[in-house]
């Protein structure tokens, strides 16, 4: 990831030991095609995180058949990827994005935790109450992901101007 998105222009002194630039690569225009690929991947991951998450969330809140475990699994995975991609950005926008991503992660992991607890650790099983808990936690994560996507859109619009 760190080799993408930043052409070695002389305007930036790159410390041989450590990456010194902490500004979001997305927010700097250089016009090279690697730049766009990085932006595509970043936006793709964030939006995919939201869509998978929302997909898991929709459906009758008490009905286990409406909520597919594979979709929860994929949502957790893509949210983790999105969080990691947001590391190391020193702008204010980057900090808020990272915070929203972490919130979503926590919510989804909690949802998975409740599931594991109900099915494996104790004998409660997937009762409607448990399913409701799982889905509502995932719903919280949807809000966090929505915030992330909104921020991304706002940033894109601002830059275009």
């Amino acid at each position: 990831m760190k080799t993408l998105g930043k052409s070695d222009t002389g305007a930036h002194k790159i410390n041989a030991n450590l990456d010194t630039y902490g500004y979001s690569e997305r927010s700097i225009e250089t016009g090279s095609r690697y730049m766009n690929l990085e932006k595509v991947v970043f936006a793709f991951t964030i939006i995919l995180a939201l869509t998978l998450n929302f997909g898991f969330f929709t459906g009758d809140i008490g009905n286990a058949a409406h909520h597919n475990v594979y979709e929860l699994y994929a949502a957790i995975f893509v949210n983790a990827i999105a969080t990691i991609l947001k590391f190391g950005d020193r702008t204010h926008m980057g900090a808020v994005l990272l915070a929203a991503s972490l919130v979503a992660d926590i919510q989804l992991v909690a949802a998975a935790g409740v599931w594991v607890y109900a099915v494996h650790v104790t004998d409660i099983g997937l009762t409607p109450a448990i399913v409701a808990s799982i889905v509502s936690l995932a719903g919280g994560a949807v809000i966090a992901n929505t915030i992330s996507v909104s921020l991304l859109v706002i940033e894109t619009v601002m830059l275009r101007r």
Partner: protein
């Protein structure tokens, strides 16, 4: 610090992404591949067990194929991912370790730690720039008195030596360039408890820069500098450096004093140095013809002082192109008998080996002593490590730069009244000084007397300040007598009394004290502790003042009032 954390996170992105992806794929695969339970039925792993398996596979823990032994399909999947996941884990941990050991990070952490340690100091401390021979000597003598300092040095191994030195008092140290204002501020010159900054690096220009920076940033800070160049000293003095110590000039001046005032010299030796024998005889410099080997800064300073004192000085110097070399100088090293004979070693009373190489100096001493065994030898020692080679009886007086500097500076920092006393004492003649040395020998027969200052202030002399505010007349003799029996005098001498009217050398016991007076005493450590009673304890002071014991409890005082 925050930027360091962000940079680490950035560098960790690639390994973490790889790790997450590998784990996700492995877990998913394990949930999709059919297994067999113990009854022979097809059984699919759920995410929880799959993730559990992948976790202990990736970290090479390997609990086993749980809950049921794997089918071959599962085993094939696991086989592939054993190699991939373990490698990814190792890559992740390796990257983290490499980042942690990064020099920039370690340096930033050390600076941060140093800054925090300095900020936590809550007593008076000094900033010492330069931890070479002089710096380490100075810091060691400060540490013995439990005085804190923060240390800067350009070399990391000097700071390591500071950390390794065995002493319970912890001193913060940082490897940094002391001439950078930022590093001086990190070391605490702007800290309210910082009393002084001492510039002891071996580069005069750096010392100058430290002095200017300190004076500009905090004018009320006391700045003490070392220098051996007269131009730089003039420069330092021009913006008000509080003390500039040139080791060669300093030693030479003391030597010049010792020619005609040997007892004054002995007093200055006793009050400044930390340990020694008071019973040792006074050093008498013989008058007559002296040989001086080496006409560098040291040689020049000695030459000037000895000539001013009336001695004949014959210079021996190998470099005939030196500026201001006396016309009759003998050109040579001084290490061979030929040169020494040419300079007249057999008629000389003393020789000064002042070259800047220790082996040359030792060679000069040995050769000269062979030719004239009665010579008084003064040697310059350049390397601290060679102390044993210059020990008595090879040389009667040894000048080692770091020793001269450390002693002078320590006196300046801890007992500044000693310098005031010694300058007042110069006004007296040598028999006065001889008298004083006799008196000191009586009170401190075994080693050098301890010399300490006393300030009449509320925290250091509680009882005395209280008595003074009430208007009682407290005199020096009330402090110097024993609080067990006021007719017995403690073995202390009051050397100096500094008050609003000025400084008085050897004050009489009847001199009255006032608030904020400063006193300099010499005596044994035990008598110093005894005097604390008179200074701090009201009952003891009351006894000293009146001869009667005051009752210590409220009840006792009430009874006394009722009976009187």
């Amino acid at each position: 610090m925050d930027s360091i954390v962000f940079l680490i996170l950035r560098q960790m992105r690639a390994p973490l992404l790889l790790l997450t992806t590998i784990y996700a794929i492995a877990t998913l695969g394990l949930t999709l591949i059919p297994g067999m339970d113990d009854k022979g039925q097809v059984w699919y792993m759920d995410f929880f067990h799959a993730f559990y398996f992948v976790s202990f596979m990736g970290t090479t823990t390997g609990f086993g194929e749980i809950p049921y032994p794997f089918t071959d399909a599962q085993r094939m999947w696991a086989l592939i991912f054993i190699y991939i996941s373990v490698a990814t884990w190792v890559y992740t941990i390796g990257t983290l370790i490499r980042l942690w050991q990064n020099e920039t990070l370690q340096k930033a952490l050390a600076e941060h730690r140093f800054q925090r340690q300095v900020r936590q100091i809550n007593e008076s401390f000094f900033v010492v720039c330069g931890y070479g021979n002089t710096g380490s000597r100075l810091v060691k003598s400060l540490r013995k008195r439990l005085i804190r300092a923060s240390v800067l040095d350009l070399k990391q191994d000097r700071i390591d030596a500071l950390m390794l030195a065995e002493h319970p008092l912890f001193l913060p140290g940082l490897q940094a360039d002391a001439s950078t204002p930022r590093n001086l501020v990190l070391a605490g010159i702007m800290h309210p408890m910082c009393k002084s900054v001492v510039a002891l690096t071996d580069d005069n220009a750096v010392n100058l820069h430290i002095a200017i920076t300190a004076k500009v940033l905090k004018p009320e800070l006391k700045v003490i500098c070392r220098s051996d160049s007269h131009e730089i000293e003039a420069n330092m003095a021009s913006f008000g450096t509080d003390a500039i110590i040139d080791p060669f000039d300093s030693f030479a001046k003391d030597l010049g004093l010792a020619v005609d005032y040997p007892y004054q010299y002995m007093l200055s030796d006793w009050f400044r140095n930390e340990s020694g024998e008071t019973l040792a005889p006074v050093m008498q410099l013989p008058k007559g013809r002296w040989l001086l080997c080496g006409f560098g800064r040291f040689g020049r300073a000695i030459h000037r002082e000895l000539v001013d004192a009336g001695m004949t000085v014959q210079v021996i110097e190998p470099n005939k192109a030196l500026l201001n070399l006396p016309v009759n100088a003998v050109i040579g090293d001084g290490t061979e008998a030929v040169t020494l004979n040419q300079a007249g070693v057999s008629e000389a009373v003393g020789i000064i080996a002042g070259a800047d190489d220790d082996s040359n100096n030792l060679s000069i001493i040995v050769t000269a002593k062979e030719l004239n065994p009665d010579l008084f030898v003064i040697a310059r020692q350049n390397q601290q490590a060679n102390s044993r080679l210059f020990a008595h009886p090879r040389a009667e007086l040894v000048m080692e730069v770091s020793d001269v500097l450390a002693t002078k500076i320590r006196t300046l920092l801890t007992n500044p009244l000693v310098d005031d006393f010694l300058s007042l004492a110069r006004a007296h003649d040598d028999s006065w000084a001889q008298n004083l040395t006799e008196r000191i020998r009586k009170i401190s027969p075994s080693g050098f007397p301890e010399v300490w200052e006393c300030v009449i202030a509320a925290d250091s002399a509680h009882a005395v300040s209280n008595a003074l505010t009430k208007g009682t007349d407290v005199r020096i003799e009330h402090l110097t007598h024993d609080h067990h029996d006021r007719d017995v005098s403690l073995p202390v001498l009051a050397l100096l009394h500094s008050n609003s009217q000025g400084a008085f050398c050897m004050p009489s016991g009847h001199a009255s004290l006032a608030a904020n007076d400063r006193l300099l005493f010499a005596g044994s450590a035990a008598s110093r502790a005894r005097m604390q009673w008179n200074l701090q304890n009201e009952v003891a002071l009351g006894y000293m003042l009146t001869g009667a014991s005051l009752p210590q409890t409220w009840l006792g005082r009430w009874l006394q009032r009722a009976n009187s």
